[in-house]
Symmetry: C2
Subunit: 347 residues, 2 copies
DNA sequence: CTGTTAGCGCCTTCAC
DNA sequence: GTGAAGGCGCTAACAG
């Protein structure tokens, strides 16, 4: 394609030295107005844009921050990325994102790729890679983790109180009179899935509700697994009046399973999620869930990185999720075993 | 942070010249086995990774392809990005993505940013920026557009036959006996929204169905607008037995409006979308929609860019979308005006 | 204020 | 096969 025009070209064309052009570009020093004008005109005319690679090399900074995400197309991480994008906006920094797909090996490759690109900082979203690998990265550049605690870097982690989130859900259901509560867990190789399940169990105990192994299922955070586990649950015949899912996506899948069985939400079964994805406001009925402000978390991570880069030592405030009661939860159907559940179950 | 180790360090440590190390790194020439071993050992020990910025500068290529997307968190573009990521996998290239948010100005800034980063190629997803700006970019690097026709670059555009997609929807509804069909259009600053609406109108005419201005609404592709327009439609009292939405997100919003009015889908109203987002498989009921294989489109775009970069002249095959009939469409309720619709409408 | 001089880290001729 | 030298495009002292 056409030859790329360099700062050198501009300098020659404007009859000044390269450094002058550079100074104008970066506002590094004062330049006589007429020279400035001349140079700027040439820049316009030649459509010159500085080569970031070269700037990076000369500056020793790439002006980019690496983002290790897991699945770029997941609604959850998508919103986090949007938040990061927003948080970085206006700064000179730009996010380089790579997906790790929840596979330690791929995550390691992603980190390597980003380090080769000499990112100035790193943001890590979840993942299953060992803490050690992240600590190693953290030795070279400032690192902030979201939704994951990294040993020795806790003060650089934007954490969510998963236990508290689920607890709010259980409390809400208890207040509505539910006792037989089923639970579909997420992929327990992920920290948050474990925390949520444990939080559920703790809350049930605290509130004096029965914790039945037969009502505890294990999904993998996907819609498909939510559907699968929910329909297993229904087929099993063990009665329950509420179904708590470890995330919104599984709740969506579970919703479909209930629909297929002709079970109404919330008349027959109350259903809850976790994350408050944007689309959960539009499920039928709108989903009661735990709000995470994923977007804000991303933004906060970005801002933290920026201040780290600026040499400050920001301190993270742990994020407290909050229950959003919408329409997928309601009072227990009267005689549980005879009414709501079993009646429809046999229809 | 710790000093970054360079190729120079490796060379010294291994007792060879920098060029030798470079050759080993790139397999550019043969090197004596023992030197190779020595160097590789040092690379390991020092944990050396080449600086991509420097390589880029020396090579004149950055090994990155720019991606101009609109909204990184939208499920639609998210899936496209995942496809691009997949398509680029295994190549040396890496995607740099920036969002334009459907604003010409921001899109232009995004393009500038990417050109400054000296991307070797560009993939454009939708957008409202003028063709001219894209042509200008295309003069400097290979460019591929997805879901958008760019004047003079048509053979570099991965296009979707939107008219045909909507036509299939209308035909399907006609076969089910629907005559009074409402339509919610997308943001008509976008080409595809116009094509879909026009396709709808054409198909209605062809099939001899009435085209009522009062049943034509204009949304903006968001869930909120779908809800808004659908509820307006219901409030207006004009009877209809089917509602066609220009995308899945608006269909989701419309679904909620119908739910609020106590209208059943598909018993009272048939509902359709367009795009076949992953989550549309899990709406209640699962949504009849037009499949776009967004993921594959992204992948195809990436592969095209790669072969362009390799010097080939690939040829794009226009993409024909296909109707996916799920459960949100059904036969017309018996006497339309008396039965299904108005009865519920007045409840 | 501004031009000259060195690099930043790597690759690539060019000789040996 | 391998080292030396020059350059990619830009910035940052250093002298004027």
């Amino acid at each position: 394609m056409s030859v790329t025009v360099t700062l050198m070209h501009v300098a020659r064309e404007a009859g000044v030295s390269p450094s002058t052009v550079s100074r104008i570009l970066n506002g590094t020093a004062n330049v006589t107005p007429d020279k400035r004008e001349r140079v700027e005109a040439v820049i316009q005319r030649l459509n010159f844009t500085p080569n970031v690679q070269a700037q990076a090399l000369a500056n020793g900074r790439s002006f980019s921050v690496g983002v290790l995400t897991q699945n770029i197309s997941s609604p959850f991480y998508g919103e986090t990325l949007a938040g990061i994008e927003r948080g970085l906006e206006g700064s000179l920094y730009y996010p380089l994102v790579v997906s790790g797909h929840w596979q330690a090996e791929q995550e390691q490759q992603a980190l390597d790729l980003l380090m080769r690109r000499r990112v100035d900082a790193m943001i890590v979203l979840g993942g299953v890679i060992e803490d050690e690998a992240l600590q190693q990265v953290a030795e070279r550049v400032p690192l902030v983790a979201v939704g994951r605690n990294v040993l020795g870097l806790t003060e650089r982690c934007v954490l969510i109180d998963n236990r508290e989130g689920i607890r709010q859900v259980v409390r809400h259901l208890a207040e509505l009179g539910h006792r037989e509560v089923a639970y579909i867990s997420g992929l327990e190789t992920q920290q948050d899935a474990v925390e949520r399940r444990e939080g559920f169990e703790e809350a049930m105990r605290e509130l004096g509700l029965p914790l039945r192994p037969t009502l505890m299922r294990r999904g993998d955070y996907t819609e498909a697994s939510g559907e699968q586990e929910a329909s297993d649950l229904l087929r099993s015949g063990v009665p329950f009046s509420a179904l708590v899912c470890a995330n919104d996506q599984m709740a969506l899948g579970a919703r479909l399973a209930l629909y297929r069985r002709g079970m109404r939400v919330p008349e027959d079964v109350s259903l809850t999620g976790f994350d408050d994805l944007f689309s959960s406001r539009y499920t039928t009925p709108p989903l009661t869930t735990v709000h995470q402000a994923v977007n804000e978390l991303g933004q906060q991570a970005a801002e933290t990185v920026l201040s780290l880069l600026a040499g400050d030592l920001p301190h993270m405030t742990p994020y407290v999720p909050r229950l959003i009661v919408r329409e997928s939860t309601g009072p227990v159907p009267h005689p549980l075993t005879a009414g709501g559940l079993l009646m429809h179950d046999s229809s």
